[in-house]
Symmetry: C2
Subunit: 302 residues, 2 copies
């Protein structure tokens, strides 16, 4: 038990140290605010800097570490992916979408600046993600860079993340069954989680069987993350979760808890954790950080 | 004179036939509307199909033809560029930006669908542009594909097209001088015109001196296009221009005509035409279509 606690502590330390390193790297690679258009770079920095777990860059970095990839490349790829993730938050927060006033405890971009700048800052982050991914910092081999761009565009496009957001804002709650919310999660958040480990693999010379194992791992991890989110909304401590709990049930939202029951959702999350761990079993000790992420996702209180 | 008229006629025929071919290619490469998220692919098709001069794909295609490049690659690259251009129109038309109700004579995407779908369809077109550019259809050599992605991201990013839009919506008319509106044009529309000929060159094995000539040509062409736009707003025939004329002066807009005078603007456009033609003089007859574009831009009535 002491051993487990200290492993957990060391995992959380590692996650926090990595998040700090990602923050510093983002600060370096984001455009500098200059000229008459400085405000858009300022808004991009406002959105991207100052917190967040940086789970997606962490997955890129730890996959590359597991497979012996170049960590500088992994950091650039992780920053590109984080720019893309942040763009999706900025646009999802817009008044015409989720109309959110707060994000990570501070005003959303359209509240701090205005709607036009929020749209343009999102567009800028999306474009910058591809600029970073196609740059030599992402990989020395241009064939890998072109592949990363293609995979990121597919994961984040209309049959991936964007499509998931469309489903989320257009399909009524009472028309959602377990199959639909599973598909929604796979598109809206799962596709980028899957891309994170695939990208870590691609820059590290991963073979097809490695990519297949990483896909199994990240698909299970991404779904477990969503189910844990739904569980926390029911039994989480509002102070720890950092937002109101019980909100989903109040809104009549179709969640894994409302569709499977609390015990059913917990069992499903547990099984997914097993699937994720099993996928990386062949990598032994080298998979420690990625396996630690499974425990982190399943046990997190916020 | 007869010769000139028939050359002009043949140029306009060629432009129209090319626009039809681009339309057909876009129809093939845009995502198909399927699944619960079909509406976003429908909105992307609504925005991208059904007209437009397709000047940017035309420049990619004719540059590739001049330099002996593969025309299938040029069409894919031209379609990617057009997707990016159309995304910028969809987002610029949004209520929080220019708040336009009509585009090419039909309701804008946010009027036909809604604002959320317009934001997401724009995001989808932007993402799809990079997917196409990184695909094997754009070029057989992945190093060229990675370069195309990098150049497109730079041209359309915060120090290019997005930055130009930021300047356009944030700098007051009475603070704009000739230097500022020249810079604004170079960023907002010039960067993509420059990318068009550069991309046509890159997929055709262009050497640095070719790229330099193409840059001189497209920079002059892009600025001449904007000046001609400003002239048409003053002396154009509303029926031919297809929109209200005299609008800029009524709004107190700083244009090349208001800053240089009508004669000054015409002389500037004429000089830019000379610069563009001179840049392509070394290519002789092979540059016929690109030189014809200079005449088209300077003489167009709409």
């Amino acid at each position: 038990m002491l051993h487990k606690t200290s492993l957990e502590t060391s995992y959380r330390d590692h996650l926090r140290v990595t998040a700090d390193a990602v923050e510093a790297a983002l600060d370096r690679v984001l455009p500098a605010p200059t000229g008459h258009h400085a405000v858009v770079a300022e808004a991009m920095r406002y959105a991207a800097l100052g917190g967040g777990k940086r789970l997606r860059p962490f997955l890129v970095l730890e996959t590359a570490r597991m497979l012996g990839g170049d960590m500088d490349h992994a950091m650039t790829v992780g920053c590109a992916l984080e720019c893309l993730h942040v763009y999706s938050l900025v646009h999802d927060d817009l008044p015409c979408m989720d109309d959110d006033d707060l994000r990570r405890g501070k005003p959303t971009v359209h509240r701090r600046y205005d709607e036009a700048i929020a749209v343009l800052a999102g567009d800028g982050l999306l474009t910058h993600a591809f600029e970073l991914m196609a740059s030599e910092g992402a990989h020395i081999d241009p064939a890998i860079r072109a592949r990363l761009v293609l995979e990121l565009a597919r994961a984040s496009g209309t049959n991936g993340m964007i499509g998931g957001q469309v489903v989320d804002i257009t399909v009524a709650e009472n028309e959602r069954d377990t199959a639909l919310i599973t598909q929604l999660q796979a598109m809206k958040t799962g596709a980028l989680i899957r891309f994170a480990t695939k990208a870590g693999g691609l820059i590290s010379g991963a073979q097809p069987h490695d990519i297949a194992a990483l896909d199994r791992y990240s698909d299970a991890l991404g779904l477990a993350f969503q189910i844990r989110d739904d569980i926390l909304d029911v039994e989480g401590d509002a102070a720890l979760v950092g937002k109101a709990v019980g909100k989903d049930a109040d809104l009549g939202k179709a969640t894994f808890v409302s569709l499977l029951g609390l015990d059913g959702a917990k069992e499903k999350a547990r099984q997914l954790g097993e699937t994720a761990r099993a996928a990386l079993a062949p990598y032994g000790e080298k998979a420690q950080a990625l396996v630690g992420t499974v425990d982190f996702v399943l046990e997190r209180q916020h």
